[in-house]
């Protein structure tokens, strides 16, 4: 956890420095803003992980001499087969087509998308997340 946090924060720091250099040499807005955005992208999760890493015991995956017995027990709950990602994907496809070929496709997109969202949520509840 600590190493992941450091890693992300270092990325953010690097882009912060590059952004400053870029701003004071090139005076160009678009690139500066995108570099600042990248810096925040690293610093936000990186800072969050670093904050938590001091309050949590390390993950077994980060311990040099951890064995499977140290991580024994449930890793996580994984979903089995599910039709909803497919329907959501097709909903997105029809939504994109709506923008090109007109609003008559919108009901199909909405029906597919909504049913996928509702179905996915119900499935998660019934599957019983951990």
């Amino acid at each position: 956890m600590r190493i992941s946090g450091t890693f992300l924060a270092a990325i953010g720091f690097f882009f912060g420095v590059i952004a400053l250099i870029y701003w004071f040499t090139a005076y160009e807005d678009a690139g500066f803003l995108m570099l600042i955005g990248s810096a925040i992208l690293g610093l936000l999760p990186g800072g969050y992980y670093l904050w938590w890493s001091r309050r949590m015991r390390p993950l077994e995956g980060d311990v040099d001499d951890a064995d499977m017995s140290d991580g024994a027990g449930v890793i996580d709950a994984f979903p089995g087969s599910s039709i909803w990602p497919f329907l959501l994907g097709m909903g997105a496809l029809f939504a994109a087509l709506t923008f090109i070929f007109g609003l008559w496709l919108a009901p199909i997109a909405a029906a597919l998308g909504l049913s996928a969202v509702i179905g996915g949520v119900i499935e998660s509840r019934r599957g019983g997340a951990v």
Binding site: D67, G89, L93, V130
Partner: protein, 586 residues
């Protein structure tokens, strides 16, 4: 139905001197963990298993690769003769646009981070699946939707997009590029862009949080490291592309003037946004393939990787620098800061050089064996070296002013991209195919594939460098006899046809492996990563047992206890053993 997955059981290796060289296939794979889901077509539609999704990704991206390759052959046939009229100019523009778009957006990236990485990364880090399996499935369906939309844009009135894969404003606005084909192109980028972002999230979360106990960050194979960094690059780059695509769509349909001078917009802003995506994209396409080669070379050199940490830091520096060099594609616009972008572009040569040094260092003194994956990896080294060196040339603004938009640049990026996505990509395909399908590919056909590809590759692109230096611009559908470019173009066309023929051997190889399977076993290459510990193909949720993970080659340590290299500082027994071996070899 949700199932909980427990940590696999530990299986201790035999003591030194025991039987070695065999995977632990007799330890009861499958069985209780077998999937009880639907079968047939419904299985492919509903599966959230990273292995099924990975295979779907690979098949789809290979199909786009072949469609797009066929377009390249038509382009080369058109250019084989001056004032040729094989296709008309509009069709030619559509062909080179779609060739670039399909290859870059739909083959090169998805083949690596959707296909190989999806399949291999959870296996390499000892995870039962990707971190978000349903999001992973959604990624694939978005990708399939986007890919079909882009490919089918040929059939709409007005034809496919025809402004090059970079869609520069103002050529891509509604006056210069009317028609639904362009809109389909844009929307397809939106869909595949989101698919890539979701895959990036999945890769980062998987590598950060689903590593098996003991699989620390500095023990995961370099391929997984590179996929982690690729995932982060995706998260930096693709949102920018999506933003740019939305802006362009608004310019085309909703009357905004973001990229048009008439309304107070800035056309060159498109280039800034596009290349802020586009240059990291180049490394999104390259880093996974560097990772593949880095995993293959040690196996066929029978040595541990030379300079593991150097490789990791080289990957990180390449990724970091790649986000600060976007405007080296825009030197000739005259509105970018040349020294800044030139310097950062030169700097990328250093970590890339470190990688080359380490690849050569890994092979140095090893027991090399030249099976197909290794041949393709070495082919990658040559191809990428040539592409990289000409890339350093192009980072120099004076050279770039001379060669911008000529065939010199075309040859450069084809050498880089074919070096990575085709040579290294197929190296990975030949390498992991036995793991994915449980059967071997034919070595003889694989070697014929390699040699034809290798010869065709140089024959195609070396003449393009020369014809570029002679002044032939890119994206032209014809030229005059008096230009003196005919001979070189014909050589290049012959080369492209040889590349085309080489892939017939690949297809024959695939068919043969299905009709007359040669079973692979768990670990046909004697590899060292965790993916070689489980059965081929792996059971549902991948592992029932795992070996102790004490180095970056846990399976090698397991199979060859006499060579065990142990970096754990807490485990005294193994440290003593290491001292002895080090003492004996020095």
């Amino acid at each position: 139905m949700t199932t909980t997955v427990e940590t696999p059981e530990l299986i201790e290796p035999e003591e030194p001197g025991g039987p070695d060289g065999h995977g632990p296939s007799d330890h009861g794979h499958g069985g209780e963990h077998a999937e009880h889901g639907p079968t047939g077509l419904l299985k492919w539609l509903t599966s959230t298993d990273h292995k099924v999704i990975g295979k779907s990704y690979m098949i789809t991206s290979l199909v786009t690769f072949f469609i797009s390759g066929a377009m390249a052959l038509v382009i080369r046939a058109q250019l084989a003769n001056p004032t040729s009229s094989l296709v008309n100019f509009q069709t030619y523009n559509e062909l080179f646009t779609m060739h670039g778009s399909l290859m870059l957006y739909l083959f090169a990236g998805p083949f690596a981070f959707g296909g190989l990485a999806n399949y291999i990364v959870p296996l390499q880090v000892g995870a039962p699946d990707m971190a978000y399996p349903r999001l992973n499935a959604l990624s694939y369906w978005l990708y399939l939707g986007g890919a079909s939309m882009m490919t089918l844009s040929f059939v709409v009135a007005g034809g496919a997009a025809s402004f090059g894969w970079v869609a520069y404003a103002p050529l891509s606005n509604s006056i210069n590029s009317p028609g639904a084909g362009t809109d389909m192109w844009l929307m397809s980028l939106g869909l595949t862009g989101f698919s890539a972002i979701f895959t990036g999230v999945n890769l980062v979360a998987t590598v950060f949080y689903l590593r098996a106990p003991g699989m620390t960050m500095f023990r995961i194979p370099i391929f997984s490291w590179n996929m982690l960094v690729t995932g982060i690059l995706i998260l930096i780059a693709f949102p920018v592309l999506f933003g740019a695509v939305v802006m362009l769509f608004c310019d085309r349909h909703f009357g905004t003037h973001i990229f048009s001078v008439q309304g107070g917009g800035v056309p060159v802003l498109w280039q800034h946004l596009f290349w802020f995506f586009g240059h990291p994209e180049v490394y999104i396409l390259a880093l996974p393939y560097f990772g593949i080669v880095t995993d293959i070379i040690p196996v066929f050199s029978r040595k541990p990787l030379f300079g593991y940490r150097g490789m990791v830091f080289a990957t990180l520096s390449i990724a970091a620098l790649s986000t600060g060099v976007w405007a080296h594609h825009m030197f000739t616009t005259g509105v970018v800061l040349l020294p800044f972008f030139s310097l950062l572009s030169y700097l990328i040569a250093i970590p890339t050089g470190i990688k080359f040094f380490n690849w050569v260092g890994t092979m140095w003194g090893g027991q090399l064996s030249f099976q197909t994956p290794m041949l393709f990896s070495i082919g990658f080294l040559f191809a990428f070296l040539m592409g990289g060196v000409t890339g350093v040339l192009l980072a120099s603004p004076p050279v770039d002013f001379m060669t911008h938009d000529t065939y010199f640049v075309v040859a450069h990026f084809h050498q880089v991209l074919i070096g990575t996505t085709v040579f290294a990509g197929f190296a990975g395909f030949y390498f992991w195919y036995p793991k994915m399908f449980g059967r071997m590919l034919n070595e003889r056909l694989g070697k014929i594939h390699f040699w034809l590809l290798f010869i065709g590759f140089w024959l195609t692109f070396i003449p393009q460098y020369i014809v570029g230096l002679k002044g032939m611009p890119r994206r032209v559908a014809d030229y005059l006899t008096s230009n003196g470019w005919t001979g070189l173009n014909q050589l290049s066309t012959v080369g492209a046809m040889v590349i085309g023929v080489s892939f017939l051997f690949f297809l024959v190889n695939l068919v043969q492996s299905w009709r007359k399977p040669v079973l692979a076993g768990d670990n046909p290459w004697d590899g060292g990563g965790l993916e070689w510990f489980t059965s081929s193909p792996p059971p549902h949720h991948n592992f029932t047992h795992l070996p102790p993970i004490r180095s970056e080659r846990p399976v090698w340590d397991y199979n060859h206890p006499e060579h065990r290299k142990d970096e754990s500082h807490g485990d005294k027994r193994h440290r003593e053993h290491e001292k002895e071996t080090v003492g004996a070899s020095s």
